[in-house]
């Protein structure tokens, strides 16, 4: 029963097989040549002759998916290649996705070095053996960092270091100088003054305080700063590491003040990303915005020059206003890096002022952590940031880094979003948070 149809179909199947063979070899070919088009920087220019021993290729897992930081890292790695003759192969993943998948990433086949954050979030993974102890490296570069930074890089046992700080940045209220000058606004020194200013802005047709919480984490900044201002650093840290109860009336006070601020804040926050809210300030539609200094990435040209910030004002004069969130971004060494020597050399390089300065040239929305960084080239904002952080008696890392990551992502994100939707029921909310906290911190 062989007819034209059957012959045709057999040919089709055979073709399919040929295709398969091709497909079998193709992924193999790709796998063999080292992952195809992973960006291997520093190829073209640098690294001339020189008898310096090559450090080989170090793989680098990065969450710097936005254009500005991504570009800045490329420049740093080019400089590394020129100085130390090591290649860095960068594996960039979308910022939020990188964090979400960190668990499977670290247990799978992580890159040698990866970007991460200081705080509990770092200790969490160090404790579970997913990062390599780099205390030895710290004995070499430790002098280049302040004690506070060393403490932030140390594991939960207080002995070993697992983290290399790169840059940090303050959270503050950002605004455009020209808008304030135009309308004759003054920097508020207390919370009441802030509220008055907000009311004034509203009358002038501006949105007083920008607000965006679609991603769930930006609103943590507001909670953190209010908690620091109302209850002080000690209580804030106790709340973060699960020792204090969320049903403590101190916490209720924070939520009450938060509610007060919400009245002056941009509506519809749950549908807006921080980038969009920042655009509002850049376009002179919003008066002020509480965010990290990375907000500057959204400002270009003359708008960036016009950007300024002030410290969140004090609420209680007994507590003052000398603590703030200043998250530290940096790197860790994964559990079993393929190129340990090269990776450690890279980390050592990144711990130097030179590397940090190279980065900051392209992304001046942060400040360096290394002592030997050259701050003379800092712009006005950076200098102000150095001053602000320098004066701080304590800095916290931001809620999603100061507390357990599972608590922050599965409990706090939905809870704060629920609060924004319904700011009146604080008792019910804190009860739920506390109940969930107990089960999570117990495991």
């Amino acid at each position: 029963m062989v007819d034209a149809e059957t012959v045709l179909s057999r040919r089709k199947l055979l073709k399919g097989f040929a295709g398969t063979l091709g497909a079998v070899t193709l992924p193999a070919a790709l796998a063999a040549c080292g992952g195809g088009s992973k960006a291997a920087t520093g190829g073209a220019g640098g690294g001339g002759g020189g008898g310096a021993q090559s450090l080989g290729t170090v793989t680098f897992g990065s969450n710097a998916s936005d254009a500005v930081p991504k570009d800045a890292y490329e420049k740093v790695f080019a400089a590394f290649k020129a100085a130390k003759h090591g290649d860095v192969q960068v594996n960039t993943v979308d910022h939020n996705t990188f964090q979400e998948q960190i668990n499977s990433y670290l247990q799978g086949k992580p890159d040698d070095v990866f970007t991460w954050f200081a705080g509990n979030r770092m200790q969490f993974f160090a404790q579970r053996g997913l990062a390599t102890d780099i205390s030895e490296l710290w004995s070499k570069v430790g002098d280049n960092y302040s004690d506070a930074l060393k403490a932030a890089s140390t594991g939960a046992d207080g002995q070993k270091q697992f983290f290399v700080p790169f840059y940090y940045y303050p959270w503050a209220l950002f605004y455009r100088k020209s808008v304030f000058a135009d309308k004759g606004y003054e920097i508020p020194q207390t919370l009441d003054e802030l509220k008055t200013l907000a009311a004034q802005m509203k009358q002038d047709g501006l949105t007083p305080i920008g607000f965006a919480d679609k991603d769930g984490w930006p609103a943590f900044g507001t909670f953190d700063i209010l908690n620091l201002r109302i209850n002080g650093y000690e209580f804030h840290m106790q709340l973060m590491n699960g020792q204090a109860s969320w049903q403590d009336p101190k916490v209720a006070k924070v939520f009450d003040e938060f509610r007060g601020l919400l009245e002056h804040s941009q509506e519809g926050a749950l549908g807006r990303t921080w980038q969009e809210a920042a655009q509002g300030v850049a376009q002179k539609k919003t008066g002020m915005y509480l965010l990290g200094m990375f907000v500057g990435q959204q400002f270009e040209g003359e708008a960036h020059d016009d950007l300024d910030f002030f410290n969140f004002p004090e609420v209680d004069s007994n507590v003052g206003a000398d603590t703030l969130d200043a998250p530290i971004d940096g790197f860790m060494l994964s559990k079993s890096p393929k190129n340990e020597t090269g990776a450690k050399a890279l980390l050592e390089y990144l711990a130097s002022g030179a590397a940090q300065n190279t980065y900051l040239q392209s992304d001046p929305n942060n400040i360096a952590t290394a002592k030997d960084a050259d701050t003379s080239g800092y712009n006005a904002l950076q200098k102000k940031a150095v001053e602000l952080i320098g004066k701080a008696s304590n800095i916290s890392q931001f809620m999603d880094r100061d507390t357990r990551p599972d608590f922050a992502s599965t409990v706090m994100i939905p809870s704060i979003q629920a609060f924004i939707k319904n700011p009146k029921d604080v008792a019910g909310l804190t009860k739920q948070i506390e109940a969930q906290k107990k089960t999570i911190f117990a495991s």
Partner: protein, 304 residues
């Protein structure tokens, strides 16, 4: 989804339908269908429109406005900045082998259970069919662990295991899609007359020869229809690659687009362009193979 099963059983059709048609009624129906079709096309057309407008145009006039200029600038940017050709390749590397293996293995099973009567036929069929109906999120953790444990030689996977490798994604696609294809193929194969197999057996043909030379050539139609469907489903998959592929640049295009959104979020024009470019292969397959595909679905009514 399994309409193929029932519709491919040839129906013994005798008289041709003769029904009087009211012209006016038809016109109304047409009018209604035209309106519905336009409404249905609108989202895609709007995306196309947005993608052809330069970012400066929409930044100045807003998105709901007549374009002052149109250009392919967004497409050019999507192609280069978002590195789309690379992701196309990734998708191809996953989709094409997955389709081939799925159809091959499914036809094996379908052949076994439809041409021979074993006690295990029905339970096996049920096992396969049910397997395709599970939500993906239910099996992800043990699957992820399993992938980490199964080693692969270095030439097949950079990571040394099934995790974060093309073969891993291909494997899970095959396993997951087998059920549906087995269901359809076995239903179709059951309609092939037993006499063919018997004649072959009398001629001394082995089971394999029966499969390869007799049954499979007759399955051209369901194979084509399934290939089209599977191509669409596997190409459009979002979840597996999101979770089982950790390297950003190895991900197929659909999962990679999520990362794109983070990178270019305010530039809706660019995202629209990239989305349409990503959808292009499925659309091409659809327009080219549509006749075969819909014909396959309606096969039952013409084969006799």
């Amino acid at each position: 989804m399994s309409a193929l099963a029932t519709s491919e059983k040839p129906a013994a059709r005798a008289p041709v339908r003769v029904r009087p048609r009211a012209r006016r009624g038809n016109r109304r129906v047409h009018a209604f269908l035209i309106v519905v079709s336009l409404v249905w096309l609108f989202p895609v057309l709007y995306s196309l429109y947005t993608s052809l407008r330069p970012y400066s145009d929409t930044a100045e006039h807003g998105y709901v406005s007549l374009a002052h200029s149109l250009s392919f600038e967004n497409y050019k940017n999507a192609w280069t900045q978002a590195d789309l050709p690379h992701y196309y390749l990734n998708s191809a590397l996953v989709t094409i082998p997955a389709i081939v293996f799925t159809l091959l293995l499914a036809s094996f099973v379908a052949f076994g259970i439809s041409r021979y009567s074993w006690k295990l036929n029905l339970p096996l069929l049920m096992l396969f069919t049910a397997g395709n109906l599970l939500p993906q999120q239910v099996i992800i953790t043990p699957l992820y662990r399993l992938f980490l444990e199964i080693p692969l030689p270095a030439f097949m996977s950079e990571s040394g295991t099934l995790y974060d490798s093309f073969w891993g994604i291909i494997a899970i696609h095959v396993a997951f899609q087998l059920g549906f294809c087995v269901f359809v193929m076995s239903n179709y194969m059951k309609t092939i007359p037993q006499e063919l197999s018997e004649a072959a057996m009398v001629d001394g043909a082995s089971a394999w020869r029966q499969y390869w030379q007799i049954i499979m050539p007759l399955c051209r139609t369901p194979l084509a229809a399934l290939a089209t469907l599977e191509f669409t489903w596997i190409y459009n998959d979002f979840f597996w690659a999101l979770v089982l592929m950790q390297s950003g640049d190895k991900r197929p295009i659909t999962s990679a687009l999520a990362g794109l959104q983070g990178q270019f979020f305010t530039n809706n024009n660019l995202i629209a362009a990239a989305s349409l470019v990503a959808a292009l292969p499925t659309l091409i397959v659809y327009f080219v193979l549509q006749r075969q595909f819909i014909g396959g679905l309606t096969l039952g009514s013409t084969k006799g």
